[in-house]
């Protein structure tokens, strides 16, 4: 059982797809050898193929009997074969031809940038930032035969012990979000470490700190003072991605709910939604419907001059409003289950961390 669980809420209504978070993470952690295709944080346009390409239809996670579901491994092409431009030839080599990529680009992260969807005369798209969910029931951890993956007792962060990992990649297959990457140079699997060295010093994660859209909230899910607790447990407007995969993610999304379709400004988001409801249900389950209703109601309240505590919270004016990094609380953690969810909580069953595998062998 983990004493506390750090969690994240991402408000998709505010993400501008600038990829600042992606680059903040890349520069901080993954610009080493063998890490070219590694985006511990990526932002993908939805509807879209995602990164790695088609990850959401590859498999992984748990079935109804809590067995690991089979999955394929993403290929190099699914991550996109990197290409470069030879500018020196054009600028200094006297070549007149246009500068072309050295490899024909077939796929890249966010390949379908802003392509989006089109329905009933309306184009639509939104951005979906993704990082490891530091799941309550991590399929990656369950799949590792060497016990190289462990969930930290004190704060629920899921890590891969680089000394124990032998690069078998069962974890990549098992993760339904494909948020573990293989590094051929080290021969090990690597993933988001939730910036634990920053957290331990009381500094928020790089991706959270840099986000100009201020869409990111972070804190202890089990602490009533934290913004994530308020959004997930109290207001209940943040949902995990693909909850049916059974890993109980700790990254939650406020679903996109605006604007209504062109020419119907008076219609409610559920009467004439710009984002097809079925698509949002595919991503976030049927629980997205009451969340959208609630958000719409709060918006109307504010538009009529009332005060919406929820919308004030979602604005997240200051870093203090958005981030609750509490190393002192986490350090003092006493073991015990964390369970404060309501029985019909859209975010899933009560938070109990069953597996805190350590380096036992």
């Amino acid at each position: 059982m983990s004493s506390h669980q750090y969690a994240v809420v991402l408000d998709l209504n505010k993400c501008i797809g600038c990829q600042t978070c992606t680059i903040a993470c890349k520069k901080q952690w993954t610009d080493g050898d063998g890490m070219g295709a590694m985006y511990w944080n990526n932002v993908e346009t939805q509807p879209g193929t995602g990164y790695p390409r088609g990850y959401h239809t590859m498999g992984g996670g748990f079935d109804e009997q809590r067995n690991l579901r089979p999955s394929s491994l993403p290929t190099a092409e699914d991550y996109g074969v990197p290409f470069e431009y030879d500018y020196s030839q054009r600028l200094f080599g006297g070549r007149k031809k246009p500068v072309m990529p050295d490899v024909k680009p077939e796929y890249t992260p966010n390949w379908d940038e802003d392509v989006g969807g089109f329905e009933r005369g309306n184009p639509y798209y939104f951005y979906l930032p993704r990082l490891c969910n530091h799941c309550t029931h991590p399929a990656c951890l369950e799949a590792c035969p060497r016990g190289a993956i462990y969930k930290r007792q004190e704060d629920g962060i899921v890590l891969i012990d680089q000394e124990r990992c032998r690069g078998y990649r069962h974890c990549i297959e098992a993760c339904p979000y494909k948020k573990i990457y293989f590094n051929e140079v080290t021969g090990t699997s690597q993933k988001c470490i939730f910036c634990y060295p920053r957290l331990e010093r009381g500094t928020v994660q790089a991706c959270m700190a840099q986000c100009p859209g201020r869409i990111r909230f972070v804190g202890l899910l089990d602490d009533p003072d934290s913004p994530v607790h308020k959004l997930v447990r109290v207001h209940r407007v943040a949902l995990p991605l693909f909850p049916e995969r059974g890993t109980h993610p700790n990254v939650f999304y406020v679903p996109p709910f605006s604007p209504p379709r062109t020419g119907r400004p008076d219609a409610g988001v559920l009467d004439d939604p710009r984002f097809p409801l079925d698509y949002l249900k595919y991503l976030f389950s049927d629980a997205v419907v009451p969340v959208l209703s609630k958000l719409h109601g709060e918006l109307l309240k504010a538009q009529e001059g009332g005060r919406s505590e929820l919308l004030q919270l979602l604005i997240g004016r200051t870093a203090k409003d958005r981030f609750q990094i509490v190393p002192e609380k986490v350090r003092k953690a006493t073991p015990g289950p964390v369970s404060d969810a309501l029985p019909d909580d859209p975010a899933g069953p009560p938070l109990t961390i069953v597996s805190t595998s350590t380096k036992e062998d």
């Binding site: 610009d31 080493g32 050898d33 063998g34 890490m35 070219g36 295709a37 590694m38 498999g59 067995n67 690991l68 579901r69 089979p70 999955s71 394929s72 491994l73 993403p74 290929t75 190099a76 991550y79 990197p82 470069e84 020196s88 799949a143 035969p145 060497r146 016990g147 032998r166 690069g167 078998y168 990649r169 069962h170 990549i172 297959e173 990457y181 293989f182 590094n183 051929e184 140079v185 021969g187 062998d361």
Partner: protein
């Protein structure tokens, strides 16, 4: 389904005959004759597979079995078992040279690993991961740390706490590693004071050939082998394995 059952039967047999889980002493020992060259053989000579000294070693067919898929779910036994031959040569100082030749229709599956060179300062990308879905071919010989004859063999699953094993492992692209194990999931790098081994592996005909020199091998020491076909996504416990063989006279 039937294939899976037969694999399970093989595993049950292995457990009862060879792991020592049964109360019976080991039965049905498989031995490999030790070839003796007329004069002393140096390690360098033994490590060159084409050297005529290897004609003094009698080739023995080794039966390999395929492990069932334990957690991966997506992989199944295609019924293929690589034909595998073993030769053993006695060397001075209690050392032996072992040569395992096994079929692999794609012995260069991970050629891309060899192309993992730094692209140089003119390039943005550093040494990159080019084939995250490919697994390397690999081979291993397992030897109990307590050498010599055994009443009961160690567990075939990387030894057991009472019978730790040395693993002389080679993986395409990464080379030789001396590992130790005392049960499933316990494999770790051997300490600096562990008896050193050597291995040379190269493509050979329609497969691979590995030649090891192993130290401190007393007569009747048990040996077991495993090969991994990377193209079949084999790694970890997903592999072809042999039962225990004994170093014969």
């Amino acid at each position: 389904m039937q294939r899976n059952l037969s694999v399970l039967l093989i595993l049950a047999m292995v457990a009862s005959l060879q792991t020592g889980l049964s109360a019976e002493p080991r039965i049905g020992a498989l031995t490999i004759p030790t070839g003796t060259a007329p004069g002393p053989v140096t390690g360098d000579v033994a490590l060159s597979p084409a050297d005529p000294v290897w004609t003094y070693a009698v080739p023995v067919e080794v039966g390999l079995h395929r492990t069932p898929s334990l957690y991966s779910g997506g992989l199944f036994d295609n019924g293929r078992k690589p034909r595998t031959t073993l030769r053993l040569l006695g060397l001075p100082d209690n050392r032996i040279a072992l040569q395992l030749t096994w079929e692999d229709s794609t012995p260069h599956s991970s050629e891309s690993l060899a192309s993992l060179t730094d692209r140089g300062a003119d390039h943005i990308y550093k040494t990159r991961t080019s084939a995250p879905e490919r697994f390397p071919d690999a081979v291993c010989v397992m030897v109990p740390q307590r050498r010599g004859p055994h009443e009961r063999y160690p567990s075939l699953m990387m030894g057991d706490p009472e019978n730790p094993v040395d693993l002389y492992f080679w993986k395409e692209g990464r080379g030789f590693e001396h590992l130790t194990g005392s049960g499933r999931g316990t494999v770790a790098a051997a300490g600096a004071d562990a008896p050193p081994g050597q291995v040379v592996v190269s493509p050979s005909g329609d497969g691979w050939q590995a030649t090891w020199i192993l130290p401190d091998i007393a007569p009747a020491t048990p040996l077991a082998f495993a090969v991994w076909d990377g193209d079949d996504q084999q790694r970890d416990g997903l592999k072809y394995f042999s039962l225990w063989y004994e170093v014969g006279p």
